[in-house]
Symmetry: C3
Subunit: 269 residues, 3 copies
């Protein structure tokens, strides 16, 4: 663990020194939470969706989050405008395909973002990634009710096909760039009792992607950091809302040393 | 209380077993809170408003919440599309007429939803229901500043006229299907210190309506459950925000047995 | 302090007696928080942005908040419609120019609101006010990364040019109506760890502007009240989220006597 641990601990330190701007075009449900998570981990958030400004805004950013969780066609257009500019400037894009598989609009919009843009990292639950990969998976609203059978194979195949990094979050998170595969075993079941914790983990990944250009490692670091904060917060939980307060406090208070020691990342190939 | 208590306790158990999807087309202010309340009571939330997907999304749902609290004409159109599909599939619609009476747009949009759709339950404060029923009532922003004189008569008359269940929330909640009238005496004054607690109670009603097809009882159960959680949470309140944390924790922690014992529902006719 | 203290303490009492409606046309990130802050200080919030209703809604209001933090051209048009009606009725407008300086759309939209409307108070960080005044200032997303050199001179000059009150928030808040200059030394560094605390302070100012027609004093009172609540809340902070819970509780619990005693307002000219 020590070499890996040092690497992601150093990335956390870099986030706090460089304070990269994380430009989000995201859903209405989580905007406040993901802005706060961005701040707590040490980066700067901005939420901006107007077609008239997204290209200019993303030019200042260290990473771009595209999260069509309450999508409309106009917002998807803004995502494409921002994404093209991000690609031109080599700014990493992290895609959170919320609800892919639940409706045709969601599945097709996410596939279009994957096709038209160079996406650095896609993070979704097993049902969402299954819907995008054609490997099956059933999504009820935004919840995965039936995931893919073999997440390692699906993550690797989709990553290879789309030339991206794919992260499937679950009890063990599976991350692949098409060749390498990592597993992250941090996390806590309290996370499932709050809305938007998937979106928050995507924001954490984006903060790491802004300072760590090996996106496989950025994704693993973001998920380990978020999951570890959840583990530490769980001790103070009396229910979902007190857990969320403790989680946000803990993201802020987490030291690089704690992260180096507590991250549970395994190389699976 | 015991027969009533058993009935609503069983409904709460069914929510947690079946995890019905509650599709919300709701206002920006409360989206995060009502998504969380949906999860905490045991159901699954989805927020989706695009005209292109609402019909498909609602088809998977156990109930549909229409809450035009930050309405615009385009969102009202999406509500109508989703509502028509819900009606066709016999999925209950719960309407929260936020701010009816405050502006012409709000009053007319809510009346249109009531006219064009078969609404299972309408829940509003006294001023809002007064505005919809023509019985008077004054609304300042989204707050009832002067309610109806005789809530029982107004609820019963509006329920009969619109063939729906009407719930007027206040110190004693009054619920009628046009014939029967129930009163719910659960609740706590801390609820008034937070925004969106009316919207949250509507979400609770929708979760119960997804498993209990006698909508008079679904409305009473949702309000009793929410009000009881507030009573239990009040002990931990140091102010509005710590109350809200305790309320959300308590909704999650509330057992069917506690609900059976603590619900204060009275038959008024 | 005693005369000043009595004056702003009396204003806080008036908010709680009169419960003025504060109409917000604001950004998606903070809607829930600023609605809650409005309630906690003692006023009534409403969020409404539809061009079809903003003129009618603002007519009932004690103050109008314009906060283009997640702006689009259509929302700016609604702000202009509401603002013109507010001006006609002599209802004070408080402008929060979120992200002015970060993109052309933000800078120009805020300048247009300043030009086309009579704004009672503008509150921004040093970078945002710098961008509006032409005095420089650099904004990264919504964060001031390089402020104006001489905030007193800039606040006074912009206030004079625009015939408004300008409040530049920072370690010491600087407020000027073009002649008089006040400094407010309340506040706590925990405020910087949460998103939207600037927006919350604008809402506090608007609540005071609804009852205190000397807008220089309304701005100082709002900032002192918010900053004092933050100081008192800081004792309970274990991190940003527990601080926010304590802050909201404290705004609600703050008495006029505490405000009279704890406000740190200095006359700088």
């Amino acid at each position: 663990m020590s070499e890996m641990g040092d690497r992601i601990a150093e990335a956390l330190s870099r986030i706090r020194q460089e304070k990269p701007l994380i430009h989000h075009i995201t859903n209405f449900v989580v905007m406040n939470d993901t802005a706060n998570v961005t701040l707590h981990v040490g980066a700067l958030p901005v939420m901006a969706h107007a077609a008239e400004e997204v290209s200019e805004m993303v030019s200042l950013a260290g990473a771009l989050v595209l999260n069509p969780g309450t999508l409309s066609p106009a917002w998807v257009e803004s995502m494409l405008i921002a994404g093209r500019q991000a690609n031109q400037r080599d700014i990493p894009i992290v895609l959170d395909p919320v609800g892919a598989g639940a409706t045709k609009l969601r599945t097709e919009s996410n596939l279009r973002l994957l096709s038209d843009l160079k996406i650095a990292i896609v993070r979704g639950n097993s049902g969402e990634i299954g819907a995008l990969s054609g490997a099956g998976g059933l999504v009820k609203g935004v919840e995965s009710v039936a995931g893919v059978q073999d997440p390692i194979a699906v993550a690797r195949a989709l990553a290879r096909e789309r030339e991206t990094v794919v992260a499937i979050t679950g009890k063990r998170d599976i991350i692949s760039d098409g060749e390498r595969v990592l597993g992250v075993d941090n996390g806590h079941e309290w996370l499932q009792t709050n809305t938007g914790t998937g979106c928050m983990s995507t924001t954490m990944i984006a903060a790491f992607a802004a300072v760590e250009r090996d996106y496989l490692w950025a994704a693993a670091a973001g998920l380990a950091c978020f999951g570890l904060a959840a583990e530490l917060a769980a001790e103070k939980a009396m229910g979902p809302a007190s857990f969320k307060v403790a989680l946000f406090d803990q993201i802020y208070n987490l030291t690089p040393e704690q992260l180096a020691e507590g991250a549970k990342i395994v190389e699976l190939t």
